[in-house]
Amino acid sequence: MKTKLKSAGHPAGAPPPGLSLGRAWRGLLAFYLVALALNAVSLHRNNEQMPYGPLRSFWVAVSAPAARIAAATGLDRPREFLTRTIGDSLNR
């Protein structure tokens, strides 16, 4: 007995539209920059929890400036707010 849920795979007909490489690159860059800005403090905190050694020193040095800027500008607050209100109660 087959059910009506359609087959997986690409939708029938014309292939899905896409972006030019230039636009895709701009989108990816925007993604990385905004993600870094909003998550820098949390990222830095995770890096500080790594085992001591050259790898930890490297990643902490990389994330520290971004974390300082995010904390100073308040960009870390949306994530902190979400973690405090929903994330912690879900995962405590």
């Binding site: 059910t3 895709a24 925007a30």
Partner: protein, 500 residues
């Protein structure tokens, strides 16, 4: 290197730039992509990255030799011997790493113990000394991550070349990129050579449109399924109950079984979605690996919707060569059982995986027989009864599959038995200590609902984003990613299918 980590994000950023910057230099680009894939795999173990490279060399050489023999008009027997040799080598490698411990600890020694006991104390002491020699040796065998996946990919390549269904790759570099391509290397989808080798040979062009929006939706959807849903269900419900089922009530065990059914779907489909989305950003297309499996109304339909790349591999390289359904009903049932026994064994070296496979094989045979008989004696439900029949079928098959997950996740026969006894006894819950809660029920329902994203349904509903500026899409994606990370737990749990 795990997908949802900062290290992978940095790695992918560099690979994306290198891959597209080298678009005008095909050979350098292919070498770069292979180096990136080997770095990804070697991040875990450089020795196994070398083994992967060796496997690519040997399998491609064998395929080229088979093709050469075909062109030279050599007897079919020589090609068949070569195929036999390369298949044995691939399976031997898989068998050594994956099944040596099981063979000695769970098959050979348990069989020998009563035999040696009957033969006397000398035989017993010989067996004890043999165990003392062998156990430390087999405990040092480390299972390479993803070996089941890339071995099956290599096998499909050499068999398809033998069957003349696909030509050998033009160069070793193209085949190595096919075998080692990092998005699907460690947990699939198992992509066929006919699909991916031509893409590796031609390489994506800079001028072709990139399905970046679809990739973003797949990656973010996968991140949500893994980070928020699967991890929560595992840590709060499935792991505690499967670790110690004796202390939980019947309803709690049932909830944990439902939770695991949703967890393994969300975990595995998340990996597939992220793999497919990552490949899309590099210009490569993979087939879908899931299609709302718990919407299936029969077990046969379930296997057309679950881990599609594996089930189609088993169909094409095991079930059909055994005869499929072409040699009478009795032989068909045997073929189904053998195929799923080996499918179960592919997942892991334990009796519970064999039982899981046997259960599916037996049920499929029974279902085929019963539905065939019903089709001859009863008219199929029509009109208003058909949707009811479909929904009853879906609920029934969901519970059949959930039962099989008890064997799959149980890890050993004792735990699986304890879970089944707990369900049968149906001890009542104590209200203050039950696992049932609004959040638990919501997570299970949300996890089941994410199946609606399979088959690009989410993309179909979100096509309105196509016309938005790319920077706005990127920023919106980052916002969604932040929400997902905020809702998820600290740390990264590995994907379930890494262990296969």
């Amino acid at each position: 290197m795990l997908f949802p980590t900062t290290v992978f994000a940095v790695f992918f950023f560099l690979v994306f730039h290198g891959h597209w910057a080298l678009a005008g230099h095909p050979r350098a680009r292919k070498a770069f992509l292979l180096a990136a894939s080997l770095f990804f795999y070697g991040f875990w173990s450089w020795k196994f990255a070398l083994m992967l490279l060796g496997s690519a060399l040997v399998n491609h050489a064998a395929a080229r030799r088979m093709d050469g023999l075909d062109r030279a008009g050599a007897p079919e027997a020589s090609r068949r011997r070569l195929l036999g040799g390369i298949v044995a080598l691939n399976l031997g490698l898989l068998g050594f790493f994956k099944y040596t411990g099981f063979l000695f600890a769970d098959v050979l020694f348990p069989l020998l113990r009563p035999v040696c006991a009957a033969m006397g104390s000398d035989a017993v002491w010989t067996l004890v000394r043999a165990q003392e020699e062998i156990y430390p040796w087999i405990s040092r065998i480390v299972l390479p991550v993803g070996i089941s996946f890339f071995t099956f990919q290599a096998l499909s390549y050499v068999v398809d070349v033998y069957r003349r269904r696909t030509p050998p790759a033009r160069s070793w570099l193209d085949f190595a990129n096919y075998l080692a391509f990092f998005p699907q290397l460690v947990a699939g989808p198992i992509v066929r050579a006919a699909n991916l080798v031509p893409q590796m040979e031609q390489m994506p062009e800079r001028g072709q449109p990139l399905e970046a929006q679809r990739a973003m939706i797949l990656i973010l959807g996968g991140l949500f399924k893994k980070t928020v849903v699967a991890n929560w269900l595992a840590s709060r419900l499935a792991d505690p109950v499967f670790a110690w089922p004796e202390i939980y009530s019947g309803p709690d065990i049932l909830l944990a079984v439902y939770a695991y059914a949703v967890q393994i779907y969300c975990d595995f489909s998340a990996y597939s979605d992220i793999a497919i989305g990552t490949a899309l950003l590099l210009g490569f297309r993979f087939p879908a690996n899931f299609n709302a499996p718990y919407a299936a109304a029969t077990l046969q339909e379930f296997w057309r919707r679950w881990h599609i790349s594996l089930s189609s591999w088993l169909r094409d390289y095991l079930y059909i060569p055994l005869g499929g359904s072409r040699r009478g009903e009795g032989r068909t049932y045997v073929n189904l059982l053998v195929t799923f026994l080996l499918g179960g064994l592919w997942h892991g070296a334990a009796w519970t995986f064999l039982l899981w496979g046997a259960f599916h094989g037996l049920y499929l045979a029974l279902e085929r027989g019963v539905l065939g008989w019903l089709g001859r004696v009863v008219r199929p439900p029509g009109g208003a009864f058909r949707p009811l029949a479909v929904w009853l079928g879906r609920i029934w098959i969901f519970h059949v599959v959930c039962f099989s997950w008890i064997l799959f996740r149980g890890g050993n026969l004792e735990t699986a038995g304890a879970l089944l006894r707990g369900l049968a006894a149906w001890r009542g819950t104590v209200p203050d200590v039950t696992l049932w809660s609004g959040t638990a029920a919501a997570m299970v329902v949300i996890g089941l609902a994410t199946q609606l994203w399979d088959g690009d349904r989410l993309w179909t509903g979100a096509r309105w984003i196509v016309s938005r500026p790319a920077w706005a899409l990127g920023a919106a994606g980052a916002l969604v990613c932040t929400v997902i990370l905020a809702l998820g737990p600290e740390g990264v749990a590995p994907f379930i299918y890494f262990q296969f």
